[in-house]
Symmetry: C2
Subunit: 768 residues, 2 copies
């Protein structure tokens, strides 16, 4: 026997007995090399069955010393295909059966020995014959169509449930932003980008969007809810524009409206709303991000001239990250420690002019650019230093504190800490707004990733079209629970926005705590969702043109600004511990912790062993089980937290140290509270929705969200004995099942977000 | 009684009995408002104790109808402070005791009734007296110093353990990159940035770093390990440079070296190593990212002219994301389906010239820029189309397939699938390299976040310096486990790099699977760590100058390129199922799954109820427990996976569908495998390390990593009955404790990474 250059033996198909084995031999070799032992076994087994020696024609084909060459394999395949001929339509033909057909095509009828040998060999090889045969013949397989996009409900009707308020305004703003002049330009240099964003902001102001929350006599609509809805809608467009808009009208405008009095409103609100007067909100200092009470900028009052001197005492006390400051603001709301006659009265807000009409920096003010940032490059963040800048008395925003004619301090709120927290409470608008903006970001990212996932194909069964990637379980597992979370969150955010927009009055502490918790949850959810969407879109996700890159970079800081998320969750935990009745002072916290440790311990109910073991779908899909589980967790965590704090303090630990020691527990408790709240809001909305396919879809999403949260924390639930191991497994399985059930709704569910193609813009997600 | 403008009653301190109560009254009011019921209770209680009516001077001070004004509170505080005088040094004075001192300072000695009333009132108020008093007097508190940076071990010695190989090279390259010409410039426009990166690459090539892996006769050092170490070190610098370097010398150079033969080496390697010949690696197509076998570019062989015609049949088949293609490459390694006489022979690699010496695009080639990307803007990614481009026969990289004189195809590997996977196996270098680069990214991010966290202060106990944020439990919880993970991963990566660099020979399938798993783990860990570091640095983290923004944007695509992580983990799972003995073909997988379902079921050991309940530290800190738990999980998951696949296939499900159905299980299994592997490598390295403080620190890190992984998956461990609830809780507690124990080591642990300040560059992490 000769060996050709490529190592193949000079084999021929002249032995008729060989024909029936061709398909199997081809698979054995082409499949990537059986090891020697296996080949010898097969050879021996086949030979025995055929009552022949290994040295026959067939035997030579399975000799590991003489593997067939590439050309041999090609010839084998050609012979099989030629012989199969019309058989290509035959489905589920085993390799053995195919071999018999090949032999017959050559006029050879295999005997019973050979047929038995074929079957035995196929079994020894362990391949699924029909699949292998189909690959050889390139036929297509029956069944398993891609999940059909089930248009079971109307996206428009779903959109009405998702965004029930300010619908006209939302549509008007979406249409406005869809104009060609608002098209994205990813290549603008930073300075031009900033100017573009400034022009866009001016265009929004000209249409009256900026002043929506201001009183009508100053050009506004007196509708706080409308302003929030506008901000949320801007979250579907360029986030630099949204932030610029929020700084000017929400933070700067809001500070004058809420911390100032009538004289300030008369003087500033109209120009501010039209962007005639660009301003900024200078609270944060380099040294003090979250700890506003300890900021160091000073406002010294001089009774002789009735003026303040604003001073930045150290470089650490410069105002930092101030949006609008680096390029455009003329006036700044500056937070500083009020000092009268050497006596400090806490943080107050002052209006400090920083630029003249020509844009020149005013004397004794220093402004620096923060430089390039991860994202939001259309926003001019800057730093401010004040070198004893003098401002008249009227520049004190005096609704919570003023200085009488005699130079003495006066405030409607005597307690300095209460005054401080009341003033900070005006920040709630920023937190509500960012929570909603993050929601818009998550919706954009999911729309892009789900539309792409439903069209992109990769890999697939042999001889078939590749599979739609959204039909892969891992892909579903990554996107469906996040879609459900986004839906769930929607309703808690709607409630928050409505309560925030309701006429003030009554106790706002619960609202502040709720805003803190939902801001943290929503922004972390957005960061996580955008990241997942980016990864699910692979290389396409990395290209700026597909929007995910920009969404990721721009929204990343949401978890930090308007209150660092970890700090906000601690605020919420303290509010829970004190039953919202207190400001978040540590001493009060402690007092209440002692009380709660007693009270809550009795509130937590006994576990029912039947329920901890129940694993049927009806039970697990019941909102009562879902809400009950999340509420039980919250109560347990809160009671345990109170007990732990109390124990530490009773042992003589300082309150601050006790809190640090239990800090992770606080954050976990706050998280549990937010999740329970979200499911409850969701279920409330579902109960109010008219019966129909929309409501059914929402119920599935509620179950997916709730069970996915329980699944994620099933370690804890088992530790506490709330879930038996079998039940935890059942939850896990049901989450998979729900992912499958939500999948066919995925496209209409993201269509229901109603994001215009012009705003979405990603070529991978928008029909050209 | 009159009321002043600010609402304060005209109260005076003329009742001597009032003096002792001043501190407590101040706290009650200043603290932010007791509710009415509480005030009335306090009033009644106090009055009863003092045997007086509520209408007395004292009673008026707690009248909720007449809260004191801001000025009153200021006067109270001034009076207390004046009276306290020298007492400011007194620590741990209760409010009652302080009150007595205030009274005494005014010459009044409280009687026993009053003393009792004071104590009772303090208790009713529920405040911690000493803390409140300290706040009033602004004294500082004893104890609780910030965790001292314990220089218990030498960072240099630790660095020797972390990076035992190629130390001279690493130091040389770090020093080279620290030169001023390698300083970062965050403001370069994209085109200039690309040129800068190209110049940097040329400078590296001139120093011999590019050719390290090539044979010496072509200007190299013949040291694959050195090349990987250089790439890893570049991961501390600009990642665009690292990727550009990797594309030119690793992918393009590697393809010629490994897929080509001597004639190609002679002709190209020297110019390639000096960057005289810039090239690119054109594998990925728009329509086919991960599914390389099905890419559509065709290379048609014409026997008459012994030439190939390269063609892009559809727009979907354009080469995409190709690094170096948009601006610099002159030659491309193009992967295409080889076609001879209408017969396909699978994917092969061809050298296709795309640009002339002057940079002009060659005829019939189309090149487009991919446009702006999330990151890596210094790399010129492009798209390539070929319109029947003719190349001579010698441009086929023919080490795995050639065409004989007679026009017939020949290959040393007959099986097409084996040939394909062998060829793909040459990609392993990219995966090993990216795993190490991601490791460098995580080390940079942790160094920045930990150094900043150890210097940044926010909030703190009353009247004291603010607390170092790294001493907060939540901060420790976020950074210490990630630091431990980074350390743990280091040793598995060292082993991987060493095995990869070892002379080829033997079965590389285990190595390929290991590289796939560690690449996925390391890049996800980097993405997660950079994100966490960014959030831990707050606003500072968002500024580009602090490097985290760039690290985040640049490294994000690591989870996608060189193999999508989810796809890679499935490859690993298939390798585990087939015991590495097979190529990852589905038919083989199935055969082995049947076998394993039987074998593994018997391998999983029985649970010992004593062990499942053991919660003592000695047991939990024992590497045998940690590794044992992770190994048990891996074995269980693998056996269950094999059983699930078998069940589905036995029921008649198609293999492909069975795999999709169990896909999340596959990914989980692969993850479990990688984690077990990492802990084992870590423990092996610890055992080899000399006894001393470095080894002790490493042991703590191993425990933290292992227990943190067990904690994260305690839901599963409990479901399986491996951990009792009490043991799961004990693990959770111990993770917290280990975070505390690792915290003092945090600074030297990141110093041990040895990243030069010039490369780290972040002002928040580098002494000026």
């Amino acid at each position: 026997m000769t060996t050709t250059a490529d190592g193949s033996g000079a084999l021929s198909f002249d032995d008729p007995q060989l024909l029936a084995f061709l398909p199997m031999l081809y698979v054995a070799w082409a499949d990537g090399g059986l090891d020697e032992a296996e080949l010898r076994t097969i050879c021996a087994q086949t030979a025995a069955l055929l009552e022949q020696e290994c040295g026959t024609a067939l035997g030579r084909w399975v000799d590991p010393e003489r593997p067939p060459g590439a050309a041999d394999l090609q010839r084998m395949l050609a012979a099989i295909r030629a012989a199969a001929g019309d058989l290509s339509k035959t489905e589920r033909l085993s390799l053995a059966e195919l071999g018999i057909e090949v032999a017959r095509a050559h006029g050879v009828e295999p005997g019973p020995h050979e047929v038995a040998a074929l079957a035995s060999l196929e079994s020894a090889l362990g391949v699924v014959g029909s699949e292998a045969a189909r690959e050889l013949l390139s036929t297509t397989r029956p069944g398993l169509a891609a999940s059909p996009p089930a248009e079971t409900f109307q996206p428009e009707r779903m959109n009405e449930l998702l965004e029930p308020d300010h619908r006209d305004l939302r549509f008007r703003l979406r249409a406005f932003l869809s104009r060609p002049e608002f098209a994205y330009d990813y290549e603008l240099p930073r300075d031009n980008y900033r100017e573009r964003v400034f022009e866009w902001t001016r265009a929004l102001a000209a249409e009256g969007f900026g002043a929506l929350s201001f009183p009508e006599r100053y050009g506004g609509a007196g509708d706080v809810g409308a302003f929030v809805a506008a901000f949320e809608t801007l979250g579907f467009h360029d986030l630099s524009l949204m932030v610029k808009f929020g700084v000017q009208f929400g933070l700067f405008g809001g500070s004058i409206e809420q911390l100032g009095t009538a004289k300030h409103h008369r003087r500033y609100l109209r120009d501010l709303g039209s962007l005639e007067l660009p301003g900024c909100f200078a609270m944060t200092e380099t040294g003090h991000g979250s700890n506003v009470a300890d900021l160091e900028t000073v406002a010294r009052f001089d009774q002789a001239t009735r003026a303040f001197e604003i001073e930045t005492p150290t470089d650490y006390a410069r105002k930092d990250y101030i949006g609008n400051a680096a390029a455009h603001a003329r006036l700044a709301t500056v937070f500083a420690q009020l000092e009268i006659e050497g006596q400090r009265y806490g943080v107050h807000a002052f209006l400090v002019p920083i630029r003249g009409l020509d844009g020149e920096t005013l004397p004794n003010v220093r402004i620096a650019d923060c430089g390039p940032k991860l994202g939001l490059e259309g926003v001019d963040n800057g730093r401010l230093w004040f070198d004893r800048v003098r401002i008249p008395y009227d520049n004190l925003l005096d609704s919570f504190g003023s200085i009488l004619e005699d130079g003495s301090y006066s405030s409607p709120i005597a307690s300095p800490s209460k005054r401080f927290f009341t003033m900070l409470g005006t920040l709630i608008g920023g937190r509500v707004s960012i929570a909603l903006a993050a929601h818009s970001v998550a919706r954009s990212a999911l729309t892009i990733a789900i539309r792409y996932g439903a069209s992109r194909r990769q890999f697939g069964p042999s001889g078939e079209a590749e599979t739609v990637v959204l039909d892969y379980r891992t892909h579903k597992r990554r996107l469906m629970p996040r879609l459900a979370t986004t839906y769930a969150l929607n309703f808690a955010l709607r409630e928050l926005a409505a309560d925030y927009a309701a006429p003030p009055g009554g106790d706002r502490r619960e609202l502040e705590a709720r805003a803190a918790g939902l801001k943290a949850f929503s922004t972390w959810h957005a960061t996580d969702t955008v990241q997942t969407a980016r990864e699910c879109c692979g290389g396409q996700g990395y290209l700026v043109v597909n929007r995910l890159a920009t969404l990721k970079a721009d929204s990343d800081v949401f978890t930090t600004f308007e209150g660092d998320n970890t700090v906000l969750l601690q605020l919420l935990a303290k509010a829970l511990l004190t039953g919202y009745r207190r400001q978040f002072s540590e001493m009060n916290l402690l007092r209440l912790a002692r009380y709660l440790a007693g009270e809550l311990a009795t509130r937590v109910t006994e576990l029912n062993p039947v329920v901890t073991h129940a694993t049927d779908d009806d039970h697990l899909l019941d909102p009562d089980f879902q809400i009950g589980a999340l509420r039980w967790r919250e109560d347990q965590l809160l009671a345990a937290l109170a007990r732990r704090l109390k124990r530490r303090i009773d042992r003589g630990m300082e309150t601050f140290d006790a809190i640090i020691d239990c800090q992770d527990h606080m954050v976990t408790t706050a998280h549990a509270h937010v999740e329970r709240q979200i499911v409850e809001s969701f279920e409330k909305a579902i109960e109010k929705a008219p019966a129909g396919p929309e409501r059914d879809a929402l119920s599935r999403l509620r179950s997916l969200f709730a069970l996915h949260r329980i699944e994620a924390d099933r370690g804890w639930f088992q530790e506490q004995g709330y879930l038996a191991g079998s039940k935890a497994k059942a939850v896990r399985k049901l989450v998979n099942k729900l992912c499958d059930r939500v999948r066919p709704d995925a496209l209409p569910l993201v269509d229901a977000f109603g994001i215009p193609d012009e705003l979405l813009a990603a070529p991978i997600a928008v029909a050209e």
